[in-house]
Amino acid sequence: MKQRIKLFVNGEAYEVYTEPNRTLLDVLREDLELTGTKRGCDSGECGACTVLLNGKPVNSCLILAPEVDGQSVVTIEGISKPNLPLHPVQEAFIEKWAIQCGFCTPGMVISAKALLDRNPEPSEEEIKLALAGNLCRCTGYVKIVEAVKAAAEKMKEGRS
């Protein structure tokens, strides 16, 4: 039986009708057409589908659509707005060449942003642990870690 779900995505309110055996990832990609969030393993291993749920990074493939009724989601599309500057994490990913095929990038950016929000000056070890649930099969991890360090610097300058 279809259920009505209200959710907030990137600050906007949405209402969708869905069978309960669909995930938050299905709703984002198929109903709301927010395809920046990627479907990788569909089992919580790869982190390509990472979004912020009430501010915390989660695997959207492991959450049933009805579970997010009334809750707030931020996807990669909500990290920066069109015609406005990119988020410092996004800028740093471009500047440090931390993107190869790009499939893992939305999830990486979300995990990195969440890390810097809770820990503005992470050590290299803390960066690696925070991104451990995000796989990059191009294996470009060195550049990704460099980008997160650079983003931390950028955000520090922005605060001072």
């Binding site: 055996n21 291993e45 009805p66 579970e67 642990l129 649930g133």
Partner: protein, 293 residues
Amino acid sequence: MGSLPPFEYLEPSTLQYALYILNRYGESASILAGGTDLLVQMRDGKKTPKYVVNIKKIPQLEGIRLENEGVVIGALTTVNKIHESNLIKEKFPALHQAAGVLASYQVRNRATIGGNLCNASPAADLAPPLLIYEAKLKIAGLKGEDEVPIKRFFLGPGKTVIEQGMILKEIYIPTPKEHTYSIHLKFGERRAMECAIINVAASISIGDSICEDAKIALGSVAPTPIRSENAEAELRGKKLDEEVIKRAAEAAAKDSKPISDIRASAEYRREMVKVFVRRALHSLMIESNMGNR
């Protein structure tokens, strides 16, 4: 990965109503807590519930509070919340450590302590620390509540004393006595998203430079997480030194009953029990020497 089979979704907001639903639907119902195991099992076709019962709307099942010289953790408390709790870090460092190495940060934001225990994987990361702290699990059923020591909770892979129609409500952990030191070590191929090759938790209680009490728990080396009583006996009443630690580590290896699987052979696992129990005890010995100085 397949898609999720159809089911009816239920969201009871009280414990009583949840118990009523679970009793009414019996085996055709599955409890949804964090969902990080259940959804994967459903996609794999290992579980095909007709009813998925989300218990996260039941308020009193979540949170960490002090009670009766110990701490009570609601079954729905997420693994990250446990890892980030200063109270847990201070009183139960081995649980704090284990909660920090379970799967990934994203999974830890959803996965719950109750789910980790009720799934009853022999490799459940939170089980060895709870075994050394001798946690007690409060289980609710329609007929009332029952308290089960964690040592008696696991029956086999995927099997616990919880029967259809019951819900794990909370976990009580008594505060260890003074001068108790504890640690958790996880060994796997990688440092994240890893099902442990072995898990070790150990604690020692020191009085007059003597190891008055010791607890050793092992994960991934038997059908359930286990305590190693022979290793504990080797430590009790002794002054810790390299020789005593070595004997305890060997006893722990003998107590383990590992299998060979895709992650490691039984022989390797047994050898690693020896290495990691020794490492854990060595580190506790150093910590206790510093603490007693």
